[in-house]
């Protein structure tokens, strides 16, 4: 037993031989959980409701607040808004009255904008549950209807949306993991010395590496794009357009991969950082539905990911409908790219070229 305790103590001392890996594997799941909890753990959806003018409307809002899980977590967070009937980017629920031969019936009308079919289903189910509560409690035998009015000219097939939202992830994983692996290899094999001594500008060296990463990320994305096309029949209206949207995503991810190595100087931590950052960026970047459809904290956080902006720019390429603000999305992607390239350049100077 004493021998075992000594061996165990030795094992723990070996911590010092791989500190970055220990740190990464210990901290990353927690970070992942905290970020993922924004979309996956909380069951409550924000739902805008046009400020009701009738008693039945108010009763529906109360019923919406009542809908929840068996343990009491609310499914709907009704947010009262003043709505003038114009187009909506998310969704608005309006309680109207419909008169027919049987009398006046309340109608809950769900207007929705930038929401895919999967989210619409989710919202409708929740709204229907609220209406059922309302019916049971106060409408007696009167009928109530839930209608849906899409603003988009056609429904968005979820397989297409999901595939399209995977494109940024594909580019991101390829660039970040490859960037990390290639650069870590230079440190591990000592070939970084070749770069340190090379009589050329570091901008050229870094530029060549990042360009290669971006090109490889595009190759990976093309494979997925073809798979989406062959399985769903959905092809983008412009391959060049899709490529241009994915270039900044690959560039940002490639920089992240290289940066991770410049910090850790080892392959495995850099690999983990690239992989986890790509997945987190994907999940928070409109992976399962447009950010505007989720609203709240998710939308706020997702605005800082390249994925959300890439998806909003890809949307018209695949579905023919312009959404969000393309100029802002382009600007954000360009700014993030420039920022990451600058940061990587500084880190490269500091960690590789700095004279000790």
């Amino acid at each position: 037993m004493r021998r075992f305790r000594r061996l165990l103590a030795n094992e723990f001392k070996l911590f010092r031989t791989a500190i970055p890996i220990h740190v990464v594997i210990t901290v990353q799941p927690t970070i992942l959980y905290l970020l993922m909890s924004v979309i996956l753990v909380h069951p409550t959806f924000d739902m805008h409701v046009a400020r009701p003018a009738t008693g039945e409307g108010l009763a529906l809002v109360a019923a919406m607040e009542e809908v929840g899980s068996p343990i009491g977590l609310p499914y709907i967070n009704p947010i009262l808004v003043d709505w003038d009937g114009g187009p909506v980017t998310r969704q608005v629920v309006v309680v109207e009255e419909q008169r027919d031969a049987d009398g006046v019936h309340p109608v809950a009308v769900q207007y929705y904008g930038l929401i895919d079919s999967n989210l619409v289903k989710n919202f409708r189910n929740r709204l229907t549950a609220a209406v059922l509560i309302l019916w049971n409690e106060s409408l007696d035998a009167r009928a109530v209807t839930v209608e849906q009015h899409p603003w988009l000219p056609h429904d968005v097939p979820y397989t297409v949306y999901f595939g399209m939202a995977l494109l940024p992830l594909t580019a991101s994983i390829a660039a970040s993991v490859l960037g990390g692996a290639l650069t870590a290899q230079e440190f591990e094999f000592g070939t970084i010395l070749e770069y340190r001594l090379a009589p050329v500008s570091p901008a050229w060296i870094l530029g060549a590496r990042l360009t290669r990463l971006v090109l490889w990320s595009l190759i990976a994305a093309v494979m997925l794009l073809v798979a989406i096309g062959l399985t769903t029949g959905a092809w983008p209206d412009s391959f060049l357009g899709v490529g241009l949207i994915l270039v900044p995503v690959g560039l940002i991810a490639g920089c992240l991969g290289v940066l991770a190595v410049l910090v850790f100087r080892k392959l495995i931590p850099a690999f983990l950082v690239g992989l986890v950052a790509s997945f987190v960026g994907w999940l928070l970047g409109s992976a399962f539905g447009l950010a505007a459809g989720f609203g709240g904290l998710y939308e706020l956080v997702s605005r800082f990911t390249p994925g959300t902006h890439a998806v909003e720019l890809l949307f018209p390429r695949y579905l023919g409908i312009e959404i969000g603000s393309p100029r802002i999305s382009v600007l954000v992607l360009v700014l993030l790219s420039v920022g990451m390239v600058a940061l990587t350049g500084l880190a490269y100077r500091w960690r590789v070229l700095r004279r000790a």
Partner: protein, 314 residues
Amino acid sequence: MESVLSVRSVTRRFGNRSGGLVAVDDLSFEVRQGELFGLLGPNGAGKTTTLNLITGLLGRHGGAITVLGYDPEQEPRRVRRRIGLVPQETNVYTDLSALDNLWHHAALYCDDLSGVKARIQELLTLVNLWERRKDPVRTFSGGMKRRLALARALLHEPEIILFDEPTMGVDVQGRHALWAHISELQARGKTFILSTNDMAEADALCDRLVIIDHGQAIALDTPENLKTDLGRDIVLLRTTPEVAAPEALFAGLGVQATTRPEPGLLRFEVAGAERLVGDLVSRVTAEHRLESLRIARPSLDDVFLHHTGRALRE
């Protein structure tokens, strides 16, 4: 001959200024055009640090260095265009072929790629790797990798080649092949600066060398002069029983630097040992049985021992 490298009173510390390690301490030497110059010293003497100071990879804390007229700290790119470095750890891409490794280097170091193809063939032929040019480097022996690293360092036609521990980890055959390549390149006018702790290597290759210990130059000259300047022969004497008091036994003969490298073996330095053999033998055999007596000319290790009191490999 024209000086191509000048190191003057260079100092380099690691760690904080007060309690850190002084790796290079007031070191000075010059290297001439076409010379094969050696930095000889034990591990940790400051040889690699000196090479890194010459390339500008490290900054110095005092003194001055000029490489072909340029300060490597002020004008690193000018210097690096004109030097080639073969580092101690062979840093080649093992999954690439020899050809790919050289093309990779060419992209980084050669301004004009037009003559590179022919030059690669010339260099790989020179280091006897042309037949294996397409094989992955991971299939190469240690010596072959060192030769490839040498070919790579020569690709951009540097005027000075810095070679850190040329034959470390290389077998005897590979070692002699590498020495032959270095000598051939020197004959073509290249200037070499070798860092080594192998006295045989320094003796065989270097025109001149500086012996470094604790970052300081303790001797600088041609290997022959360094040994001759010692002025004494080395005597190795094995007896039964051991000579207990050599100073008393050999009194009046001018015996110096007496040490016992191993049990039963006595080592000392004496001028004109050949003339003293008879006297030495008669004094020893009076009370001891003589097992062996060896008289040798001093080696560089003896020069190092003479100056530091320690063997080079201690």
